[in-house]
């Protein structure tokens, strides 16, 4: 295999979820496309690296610091939604149902992977709460072991600060079929039922 082709396959296969076969497909696809397409891809990648930074307030991705979400006067500063990753901010933003501010932890607590509270933006969260004293903190970590541990740890840590700490509800997916829901999700949905 020619040098440049092998090199690009090698680069692509370093990406998450991309194996050598997919990498080869991507390379041959690009080889068949016009030069400007390849150029705009390469430039977009570099732009991301050069321009995108982390917001010094919420630690979300941004081009300006503080970010648009933190400076938007229409957003409620009294409610802070705590998420693990910047991508979770985009997920919640897509709902259009949340008009507060965010705080990105930069991961979840997992000592097995060498990640403790000190490796995350936990200290910054505590400081932020001290300065801004929000009414409510919504913890929106994943409902898995690490997400749960992180949520529990935060609620413990933040209790003395007097801020109301809530957690996203567990339940059934909308449009889903009761029949297909796994037993634990269904049991959690029963526990978290609401009055009509």
């Amino acid at each position: 295999m020619a040098g440049p082709v092998a090199a690009l396959i090698n680069e692509f296969s370093k990406l998450p979820t991309v194996g050598p076969k997919t990498a080869a497909r991507l390379v041959f696809y690009l080889l068949n496309r016009p030069r400007h397409e390849a150029q705009s891809l390469a430039e977009a990648i570099l732009r991301v690296k050069d321009r995108v930074r982390f917001c010094s307030v919420c630690h979300c991705l941004t081009e300006s610091d503080p970010c648009d979400l933190c400076t938007d006067p229409d957003r409620d500063a009294a409610t802070i939604c705590v998420v693990a990753e910047a991508k979770d901010v985009y997920a919640i933003e897509r709902t259009g149902a949340f008009k507060g501010r965010y705080h990105v932890l930069g991961g979840l607590i997992s000592p097995m992977d060498g990640i403790g509270p000190a490796q995350l933006h936990v200290k910054e969260l505590v400081e932020r709460i001290g300065q801004q004293s929000p009414h409510e903190l919504i913890i929106a970590t994943n409902p898995n072991a690490e997400g749960e541990a992180t949520a529990l740890y935060l609620s413990r840590l933040l209790q003395p600060l007097g801020t109301k700490v809530t957690r996203l509800a567990y339940g059934l997916p909308i449009g889903g079929d009761l029949d297909y829901a796994d037993e634990v999700t269904l049991a959690k949905a029963l526990e978290g039922r609401t009055t009509l």
Binding site: I109, S110, P111, M112, G114, I115, G116, P117, A118, Q119, A145, E146, E148, A149, L152, Y153, R156, L157, D182, E183, V184, A187
Partner: protein
């Protein structure tokens, strides 16, 4: 429940196999290393999603191939189910995927749709082996029995691993985080202990009865749950309080030993014969009879709890037992709905409804009982 068909593709020594199975007793007969146990292993995987012979899944893929698939069609109380388990080579390891009725599902949703009780020669370790062998036995039975059990077990194990990492110092010491892990351990550990307690109570009674039948009442087998954390009563509150108190007691020693020292990951199942430890003092024959009784008990408890008979899988066990014990065993589970047995020779006194399969070099041929 009834497994009506099993189909294999590049599984162990089978290239392709599509086999119809009969209700009642199915006997796989053949010389050694022809594929009898491989077929049984495949059937068990449809129930447990795991091999009963190896933890190294790559071993189940036929040499020189990338993907092994086991498919099955069964009728259970809830209706027909189609199950498939695929093992694919993935880098240096393997990746397993599960499908239920044509949909990809997670392991937790695949597990236990087809319930199996397996009895293999290594099960004799249940009497003589370390407590871990008996915990694995409890976990395997309960995970099939209660979907919630498997999840709590997975959550518990993950939490122990995280707590151990914290104790080992992979991140800065943090007493609050340690308390968070302990709280989760108490929550899920309590569920595990209660489930084990309930299961072993039922198991103990059935095992004592089966054992009495085997030995004509000469000896009494006692099976008891021996939890690492003793509790007053089998209620959530009592168990959680006992576990919580114990974890507080061991905080210092856990810090010194850099490891979780208390909890259901250190439970045991105690087997005694007329009051003496079977593992320490039982003869080979006594141990064998006790394990037999335990397996019969597992079968009957699982049947009772699910209100449906699980599949019974016996790998080369009849040859391990003398004729009398083998006959007694088959009689004692005489009301099974469907059983799969491997043997090097056609067993004598087969039931009339038994179906015989000759296995020779990965080819399987059904044969009438002579």
């Amino acid at each position: 429940m009834l497994l009506e068909r099993v189909a294999l593709s590049n599984f162990r020594n089978y290239a392709e196999l599509d086999l119809e199975l009969a209700p009642g007793l199915n006997v796989f007969v053949g010389a050694n290393a022809q594929g009898k146990s491989n077929l049984l292993e495949a059937i068990a995987m449809l129930g447990t999603g795991k091999s009963f012979r190896t933890n190294h899944d790559a071993d189940t893929i036929r040499t020189g191939f990338e993907l092994a698939v086991v498919r099955g069609e069964a009728t259970v109380r809830a209706g027909g189910v189609a199950l498939a388990c695929a093992i694919a080579k993935n880098g240096r390891g393997t990746r397993k995927t599960y499908t239920l009725n044509g949909r990809d599902v997670r392991y937790a949703n695949f597990l236990g749709k087809l319930r199996v009780v397996t009895f293999v020669p290594s099960d004799l370790q249940l009497a003589s082996g370390a407590p871990g062998v008996r915990r694995a036995f409890l976990n395997a039975a309960l995970a099939q029995d209660e979907p919630r059990y498997y999840r709590e077990l997975a959550r518990y194990r993950k939490t122990v691993a995280q707590k151990n990492a914290l104790l080992r110092g992979t991140v800065a010491p943090n007493p609050e985080l340690l308390e968070v892990y302990d709280r989760t351990l108490v929550e899920s550990g309590t569920q595990l202990m209660l489930a084990r307690d309930r299961f072993v109570r039922a198991l103990a009674e059935a095992a004592r009865d089966a054992h009495a039948r085997f030995t004509v009442g000469a000896e009494t087998l006692e099976v008891a749950y021996d939890p690492d954390v003793a509790f007053e009563a089998p209620t959530s509150d009592a168990v959680a309080a006992a576990f919580d108190a114990r974890l507080r007691d061991v905080v210092e020693s856990e810090r010194a030993r850099k490891s979780s020292v208390a909890g259901p990951h250190r439970d045991n199942l105690r087997l005694t014969l007329d009051g003496t430890s079977l593992g320490a003092y039982g003869s080979q024959g006594q141990q064998r009879t006790a394990v037999l009784a335990l397996k019969v008990a597992e079968y009957s408890v699982m049947r009772e709890r699910a209100a449906e008979a699980p599949l019974l899988l016996l790998d080369d066990v009849l040859s391990e037992l003398d004729g009398e014990r083998a006959a007694a065993f088959l009689r004692s589970v005489g009301d099974y709905e469907q059983a799969f047995v491997t043997a090097t020779h056609v067993p004598s006194d087969l039931r009339g409804d038994a179906r015989l399969y000759r296995i020779d070099g990965a080819s399987v041929r059904a044969q009438a009982v002579a």
